[in-house]
């Protein structure tokens, strides 16, 4: 009897990797970033490593080293493709791995997002998720012209105005998720009847208006896309503070958190569990994944040297919201197994340089975890929910009429 269920592992894909100079590494493919082949190769490699899923970063404006404004830099990767389209493009080329694109709740329509993710679930036969993100970037808001945000420098984030803005964005994101989820349920699973005798293609009593009324939008429904294979694709969000912890506790299936040591991890997990209980979901499974940026090499010094070399190229020492791990796959395995004691059920690893670190994960870390009985040897399920041990949820509307 194992003390723990096996770990869950995801990889966060972004450009050529999370270090700003990663594109200059020998194994990087900066000229291929806008080709399907590049993304297909990465996801295929992740699937080779039996990972639960990959996430795809996204934003509605150029990347920037600043949180709320553009930086005007020309020495880092700029430009990116729509994450849902990338996920969908690789879906037919893979069979088991989960595909979790980022969607920006602040500027997109929940109706469009709901049908896009439902469709990703169809094209991947049950492997879709999404990662909801908010944005207070002024330049992104100006791309839509519907609203403006005040400047929000880091030091102002803890002022009443800053807190209000952030609370507002997350409240809107919660509404967004609520609408998306209701739309997924707006068709009961057996709504399509094709009843030749009565001439009815659907049983319209199994289609439901969602009648959502919120502060930022109202949505009538039902969806035009039938309920996706997983019923509810997997909803995830990155969370750094209390407000986003509330969102995770209330609305998500997976929260990604960024503790820097095991005690922080314990505290964050406790806060999310409390938020979950407060939302009346204490009994529902909710994964908390630790996020880590990783620089991996067979030899600890080699990893250190590589990170230093990249920092030198970038002109500054790279740091991140998440803990940055530098070392061997075995050392990382030690850390993951230690941190899971804090109640983390999995990890989302952000490769420092994808061309190098992705294979270090799939061919170094994964076998190491397998040796320690902490990771799967073969895919045990065909759906992302299945891999994560999440049951296919009942339809809220079907339950109401039953």
């Amino acid at each position: 009897m194992f003390a723990h269920p096996p770990l869950h592992l995801a990889v966060a894909l972004d450009g050529t990797g999370w270090h700003p100079a990663a594109w200059r590494e020998p194994g990087a493919r900066p000229h291929d970033l806008f080709t399907a082949g590049y993304w297909a190769d990465l996801v295929t490699e992740a699937e080779r490593g039996l990972l639960d899923f990959v996430t795809f970063e996204d934003s509605l404006g150029p990347q920037s080293s600043h949180l709320t404004e553009l930086d005007g830099r020309t020495d880092q990767v700029r430009g990116r493709l729509d994450a849902v389209l990338v996920a969908s493009r690789v879906a037919p080329l893979t069979r088991h791995i989960g595909l979790v694109p980022t969607v920006v709740a602040t500027h997109t329509e929940p109706f469009h997002i709901s049908k896009a993710i439902a469709t990703l679930d169809y094209v991947s036969t049950g492997r879709a998720g999404l990662r909801v993100q908010v944005t207070a970037r002024q330049d992104e808001a100006a791309h839509f012209g519907r609203r403006t945000f005040p400047p929000l420098p880091a030091e102002d984030r803890d002022t009443p105005a800053g807190r209000e803005l952030i609370a507002d964005l997350f409240e809107e994101a919660a509404d967004h998720i609520e609408v998306v989820r209701r739309l997924w349920d707006s068709w009961e699973d057996d709504a399509e009847i094709r009843d030749v005798a009565t001439g009815r293609f659907i049983d319209r009593d199994k289609l439901h208006y969602i009648d959502f009324e919120g502060r930022h939008f109202s949505v009538k429904g039902p969806s035009i896309t039938p309920r996706p294979p997983q019923g509810q694709p997997v909803v995830s969000a990155l969370a750094h503070q209390s407000v986003p912890y509330q969102l995770v506790g209330r609305s998500a299936d997976i929260g990604y958190v960024t503790p820097h040591d095991i005690d922080q991890a314990r505290a964050v997990v406790a806060e999310i569990r409390a938020a979950q209980a407060a939302a009346g979901r204490a009994e529902e499974p909710l994964h908390v994944f630790g996020d880590l940026v990783v620089f991996l090499d067979d030899d600890h010094t080699a990893a250190q040297d590589r990170r230093t070399r990249l920092d030198d190229l970038a002109g500054y020492a790279y740091s991140s919201d998440a803990e940055v791990f530098t070392g061997t796959p075995a050392e990382l395995a030690d850390l993951l197994l230690e941190w899971r004691e804090a109640g983390l059920s999995g990890f989302r690893l952000r490769p420092g340089a994808i061309g190098h670190d992705l294979e270090q994960i799939t061919r170094g870390l994964v076998p190491e975890l397998q040796r320690r009985g902490a990771f799967r040897h073969t895919y045990e399920a065909d759906t992302l929910r299945g891999l994560l041990g999440l049951a296919r949820p009942a339809n809220r509307y079907a339950a109401a009429t039953a």
């Binding site: 900066p30 806008f34 729509d82 879906a91 469709t119 094709r194 293609f201 009538k220 190229l313």
Partner: protein, 490 residues
């Protein structure tokens, strides 16, 4: 509009096999005029009564395997592109969701991107409306699709505007109808500014010098207009086609003008030779006014077809298909569009109602494009009653006669000849074929009609280019060396 009746064959006289077997094509060819090359596209059978779901061969309209089968057939047949329609709210009739037709469809962009993985040459055309979307997002999605498909993306810009559909969106349906084309025009112009905001040479990615981008302002744009006041930087580099191919679908004077000014192709619905020729001449005639030439806009009407071993067999099959498309219940529902009243008490096998349509503002059917096709319902009703009386037609028979006509019916040889005639006599530049079966409805056409067109030298044996612009013979737009938006920005 939602769940529109895209692909519903037009009203009017069908192009029967005999009528269309004109000598025009041959004589023109003999006169030395080179034969026009036909463009063919495949419309995934959509959510209306032309799609027969009661057939045992009818498969899923949702599962990806259906789309993959359909796309592979189209590519095997060397078609120019696959076409997806769009609807953003389920249709209703009499206040309830309409339940007699195929309903339910996946998201356009997501399906097309996945299809790019299972095809190599086929163009991927998506219908995306300009009312319930924002230019930055749509431009990003199309530029992304063009990258991910290696230059095969096309956008059918439609102008759905109604408040009924708007109830699913932030805009809330408050765009007045008379502004839909002005928003569409500005939407497309704005998206074009975004596509053009990268020139194609900005990404240097030179490891040695550490320069990734040659220009920190790559993607800069400023657009100030009636509908959009936006500025910033577009974050997708120039795509293989520069911009996606642009389609317009809409038949009003404004719609035709929009197409003549801004589209690469127009998707119309004129199934008779004469109506097609008239439309063709009208739309092509508008091009010069916009400083464009005859070959810069392709006319590609929707067309339905039924094939048989012989013409007679095809006619019989076509009648059978029509019976399946127009059940008694469907006929009554269809009549309700014009009468705008509850007609459920009428017998579909009996005579037409002798009461007049309700001219009231509130239509009984919502979210259906064809509702607006009947601009004078009282006149239509009178006409239909007269015809039914004269020809002794029941409600169902009348609806079958007036609505359920396939464009091309006959043996493969007849259909090939008819299609070729339409194209050589300038009723069209090609067709967007709408089969009545999902997903196998194109298979026979690919296997029997396409080889005959190839034999005649009017359809490609193989793809000669890699992008959809190549297939359609459209020029690749040059990146503007210094877009206006860039100048405005600096």
């Amino acid at each position: 509009m939602s769940e529109p009746t895209t692909g519903t064959p037009g009203t009017g006289t069908p192009a029967t096999s005999k009528a269309a077997t004109s000598k025009a094509a041959t004589s023109k060819a003999a006169s030395g005029k080179p034969l026009k090359q036909i463009h063919l596209a495949a419309h995934f059978p959509g959510v209306n009564n032309t799609t027969v779901w009661s057939d045992p061969r009818a498969g899923s309209q949702i599962e990806f395997s259906s789309f993959a089968h359909f796309a592979r057939t189209a590519e095997r047949a060397k078609f120019d592109f696959l076409f997806l329609a769009e609807g953003l709210r389920l249709r209703e009739q009499g206040g309830r969701i309409y339940d007699l037709d195929v309903v339910g469809r996946p998201d356009t962009f997501t399906v097309l991107s996945a299809l790019a993985a299972v095809t190599e040459h086929l163009g991927l055309t998506g219908t995306i409306n300009s009312t319930f979307n924002e230019p930055y997002e749509v431009a990003r999605q199309f530029a992304g699709l063009d990258h991910l498909s290696g230059g095969r993306a096309a956008w059918n810009v439609v102008t759905s505007w109604d408040a009924f559909t708007g109830e699913n969106f932030r805009r809330g349906g408050f765009l007045p109808q008379d502004q839909r084309y002005s928003r569409a025009k500005e939407f497309l112009a704005t998206a074009t500014e975004l596509f053009d905001s990268w020139h194609g040479d900005e990404i240097v990615a030179d490891r040695e010098s550490g320069i990734f981008l040659k220009d920190a302002q790559a993607g800069a744009f400023v657009h100030q207009g009636q509908h959009f006041d936006i500025a910033g930087q577009f974050n997708v580099p120039r795509s293989p086609q520069g911009r996606p191919v642009i389609f317009q679908a809409g038949d009003s004077d404004e719609g035709r003008e929009f197409a003549a000014s801004s589209a690469d192709a127009i998707f119309s619905r004129h199934s008779t030779l004469e109506a097609g020729q008239e439309f063709y001449a009208d739309v092509k005639g508008r091009l010069a006014r916009h400083g464009r030439t005859h070959d810069q806009l392709l006319i590609l009407p929707a067309a339905t077809f039924v094939l048989g071993d012989t013409d007679a067999e095809a006619q019989e099959l076509a009648h059978e298909v029509r019976r399946r498309q127009v059940s008694g219940q469907t006929a009554i529902k269809y009549l309700e569009h014009i009468w705008n009243r509850d007609l459920s008490a009428y017998d579909p096998d009996g005579p037409l109602p002798d009461i007049d349509p309700d001219p009231g503002e509130n239509t009984i059917a919502r979210g259906r494009a064809s509702v607006r096709m009947f601009r004078d319902p009282i006149a239509v009703a009178r006409q239909w009653r007269e015809r039914a009386a004269a020809e002794n037609l029941s409600i169902r028979e009348l609806v079958m006669e007036t609505t359920g006509r396939q464009s091309f019916i006959g043996s493969p040889a007849t259909v090939a000849e008819t299609i070729n005639t339409f194209v050589q006599t300038d009723a069209a530049d090609g067709f967007i074929l709408v089969p009545h079966l999902t997903p196998g409805g194109l298979d026979d056409f690919a296997d029997t009609v396409v080889p005959l067109l190839q034999e005649r030298g009017v359809f490609r044996h193989d793809y000669t280019g890699t992008t959809l612009r190549d297939h359609l013979g459209l020029a690749h737009p040059d990146a503007r060396p210094e877009p206006e938006s860039r100048r405005a920005a600096s």
